[in-house]
Symmetry: C2
Subunit: 182 residues, 2 copies
């Protein structure tokens, strides 16, 4: 934290730093991302290093990570030799990317592992029980995944609709029943 951040922006940056460290993302990268998201103008590595008081090399690694998550994109500013980075303008785009990446890194490997273990023949009743739990987990995770994949396909407009549809999935289910005449 070296230069020119207003208290408001600094608070937000620090908060996302702390939060970041509860996810896979580390504190530094969390702060960097908050800074980029809160900034209208794209930032270059030096801007970030200066604003947050990190070493230039640390910023370089952080940028690499954010790029690999596809959370920022590189852009060249006219008449500038340095590289600038910015986040999507729509927070829903950011959220979708996060969900997608987390799925790839955290869910998919688990589904694969479970599927493989379910192919094995249980050697005893202990393994039979264990396999049943794995089957349950697999089914549940797959369902939730399909579901969020579906949500991710929505654009901001439809999302708003859903949001207004409001907080009652139960009602949606009832509607469906009614609609299908059951």
């Amino acid at each position: 934290m070296t230069k020119n951040l207003t208290p408001m922006i600094q608070s937000c940056v620090l908060h996302f730093g702390e939060m970041g460290s509860r996810w896979g993302i580390n504190r530094t990268v969390g702060q960097m991302y908050a800074l980029i998201v809160l900034n209208k103008e794209p930032l270059c590595a030096d801007d970030i290093a200066e604003a947050l008081g990190f070493s230039r090399s640390n910023v370089s690694m952080g940028i690499k990570e954010l790029l690999s998550w596809e959370l920022i994109k590189l852009q060249h500013l006219p008449g500038e030799r340095r590289e600038f980075y910015s986040a999507p303008g729509d927070v829903w785009d950011i959220a979708k990317t996060l969900m997608e990446q987390r799925r790839k890194r955290e869910i998919d490997p688990t589904l694969t592992t479970l599927r493989n273990l379910l192919l094995e023949t249980p050697a005893n009743s202990e393994e039979e029980f264990a396999q049943q739990r794995m089957r349950d987990m697999h089914e549940l995770i797959e369902m939730l995944t399909l579901w969020t994949a579906e949500i991710q396909r929505l654009d901001s407009a439809r999302l708003m609709k859903l949001s207004k549809l409001g907080s009652n999935i139960g009602k949606v289910l009832d509607m469906k029943d009614k609609l299908l005449g059951r």
Copy 2:
């Protein structure tokens, strides 16, 4: 990994250990939880320490953490002086607890922080922009949260229905439009 785990169960335990460390949960606790979930019978601390080759004190701390997450419950077995632990029998219960706890620990503090920062009067156009992004984030997160809260209220049976309703939220929306004659 000292004793008596079959290769199948061991693989699963190790996998959830690795995965655990990508969440807030550490590797050891992840392994412990997998072991408990995969076991029909409740386990005591010594069972766990022996099966996974951890020190008794490490297991004690892990149990404390799992209890604080409400992912396991303590039970006394008849004629046993030691304390035994088991996971819910329904994986959906486990998932609901996880969602709930993650919300409490990761989402709520962020919503609070954002709300507080939104109460401040922006000092300049830079802060105005930053606040707009915070507002967007707050709205989106709140919506997703309300939504998952709703899902959490479903019991296994309704969940199944939803799962069969299948992977098309878009269609649900269409249904709603139709039903409401819009």
